[in-house]
Amino acid sequence: MPLKLKLERRDVPPSLGLNFGMRLLAILGSFAAITIFILLLGANPLDAYRGLFEGSVGTYFNLAETLVKATPLILTSMAVIIAFKSGVWNIGGEGQLVLGAIFATVAGIYFQTYGALQILLIMLAGLAGGALFILGPALLKAKLGVNEIVTTVMLNSIAAYILSFLINGPLKDPTATTPQSLPIAASAHFLRLVPGTRINIGLLLAIAAAIIVYILFWKTSFGYKLKSVGLNPKASNCAGIDIPRVTLIAMLISGMFAGLAGAGEVAGIQYRLRLDISSGYGLLGIPIAYLSGLHPIVTIPMSIFFAAMENGAEAMYREAGVPTAVAQVFEALAFIFLLIGMVLVNYRIRREK
């Protein structure tokens, strides 16, 4: 029978410690649930977790790969945070990432200069790609009030087809055996930072992005306006804030960060466009953003954690035969436990009479 529960707001808002503890519990709870799944599969959880640990951070190279994988996640969760804190839903991170990657690839192939200028061009291309792709939904939302969840999601699918078209058509590499684009110029490669690994300046860019977003929201008046619109649009309107304009700008900036993630993948790792340029990085930004409490700096360790789960899942499969999709199940459950936890720390539960 449905639980008839009554929620009473607690007298004090949750402390930082409580918030942190709740998130930790959500993650632990998700691990517990995953362990049950693993046991049901007949696999050995100890093997599985040993694999997870080794595959994610156990070796020098694996740790580096985890950081590599965290880079786009930090950026896409930035995109989510910027949007959500401003009261809009950007679910199109996936598509914006792809478009950023496309623009960056085109810049890297056809617009060759040298050194720092080339890198800057790649970055700007990524920003432009993401912003342009979200421009439609942003204008529709700001001017006409069209539901931005649907428009951004639809564009995700459309982006995948655009990518496929370009890779198999105008940008196709005729010498390659699998469908992929021409490679970008060597001068466009993001500098590798640690020899023997794929860590590149993209990681620094992502961290810098997180710091910039933090400054934007906590230290600038524009950030204050964004937050205000996000928290209470009516009051903000009365206070004279131009909501459509703020919404538009918030969405554009959000799209830019997702686009930058795509540029980083192309210029830092793949050096060309491939169909799998994004493996769900855009969508993963959402649970990461929420688990980080929509705080930009917290997304850095949280993204690393999620990247560790994704990387480690492959080793879990090798060691214990657990399907790699266990990472996605873990992420989804952690998200759901978090949502429940967010209610519990803010409200007392009472049975309704």
């Binding site: 029978m1 449905p2 639980l3 008839k4 529960l5 009554k6 929620l7 799944f37 599969l41 839903w89 679910i91 529709l140 006409l144 009030g145 069209v146 539901n147 969840i149 649907v150 428009t151 999601v153 639809m154 564009l155 995700n156 699918s157 459309i158 087809y161 655009i162 496929s164 078209f165 198999n168 058509g169 969508l283 959402i286 649970p287 929420y290 657990v322 399907p323 790699t324 999709a325 266990v326 996605q328 199940v329 992420e331 989804a332 459950l333 998200f335 759901i336 949502l339 429940i340 967010m342 209610v343 309704e352």
Partner: protein, 306 residues
């Protein structure tokens, strides 16, 4: 010249069917005041369950039941989150998408491994209606479909009657418009919303099962390809009315069919653009639907005061 058109229209009904099941379920859900954005995930999980059941037993009925059951499970979780826990429904729905897709992929890989050959089932054969299927053109389009297509179309008037002509429907609508007033009239808002959301989940599960057992013959992660979202738009575009939702689903299904027809026809357009058609049509629809009035309490959790 007529043949491709017949094929296109026949395809429209077939492709509208999963949209229709999911959208009809969502009509009930949203009429009761809850917004379920997790349709995509529930469909995906139902798609896996239906495929697996048919693969193991060869029985289509079991396949559909499995899809419905798995949709119901996720629906129950969604109801718990949205009705009891009063979590933000948009976020809960997004979480459901990732959970549904993740669970489907997880169980599929676990059961079927990474086999080189794709596991397949025999697609449910169509059930031509005697006599009616002999009608030229119309017979091909409408009366040579899988029985699930007929089922979806038949549910439309049934649901219309339920929503607009029964007490249950009145209760659902009143909860959706004004839960506080409904509560004061003695309607159990929580219980009704639970039932509606679980029903929506079941319909999404059914839609997913259709995809892997009657529409296609295999399961791929991502097989739902955005249909959950398209069905969501169909509900709005159809003004939360089963009849207009059916029309919307036929339009979107038609767009899907059109895209495939163009892509297969070898016209001078790259096939990727043809396949974009359903998503573009959905975009146009959501823009056109921006002024449609939704149930008064849609998306707002309800709690009795005092």
């Amino acid at each position: 010249m007529v043949d491709p058109l017949i094929g296109l229209l026949q395809g429209a009904f077939r492709m509208a069917t999963p949209l229709l099941f999911a959208a009809l379920g969502e009509v009930i859900v949203e009429r009761s005041g809850v917004i379920n954005l997790g349709m995509e995930g529930m469909m995906e999980f139902g798609a896996f369950a239906g495929f697996w059941a048919v693969f193991m037993t060869g029985n289509y009925g079991l396949g559909l039941l499995a899809g419905i059951a798995c949709g119901a499970i996720l629906g129950l979780l969604m109801a718990f989150l949205c009705v009891s826990m009063r979590v933000n429904q948009v976020v809960a729905g997004l979480a459901m998408v990732t959970l549904g897709v993740g669970l489907a992929f997880f169980f599929y890989r676990e059961i079927f491994g990474t086999l080189a050959g794709r596991p397949m089932v025999t697609t449910m054969p169509p059930s031509p209606i005697p006599i009616l299927s002999e009608i030229p053109a119309l017979g091909d389009i409408l009366f040579k479909q899988s029985f699930l297509v007929y089922l979806a179309l038949l549910i439309v008037p049934v649901l219309w009657i339920i929503v607009f002509r029964t007490t249950a429907g009145l209760k659902i609508r009143s909860i959706g418009e004004n839960p506080k007033a409904s509560d004061s009239l003695g309607i159990n808002v929580s219980r009704a919303r639970y039932l509606c959301v679980v029903f929506g989940g079941m319909m999404c599960g059914l839609a997913g099962a259709f995809l892997t057992t009657a529409y296609s013959n295999m399961f791929l992660s991502g097989i739902v390809s955005g249909r959950g979202w398209i069905a969501f738009v169909a509900v709005i575009f159809g003004r939360y009315n089963p009849l207009w939702v059916m029309v919307s689903c036929l339009i979107f299904g038609g767009a899907d069919s059109l895209g495939l027809t163009i892509a297969a026809a070898g016209v001078n357009i790259p096939y990727q653009f043809a396949l974009m058609v359903p998503y573009l049509v959905t975009l146009v629809a959501i823009i056109a639907a921006r002024k449609i009035r939704s149930p008064g309490s849609l998306g707002t959790p309800y709690q009795r005061e005092g």
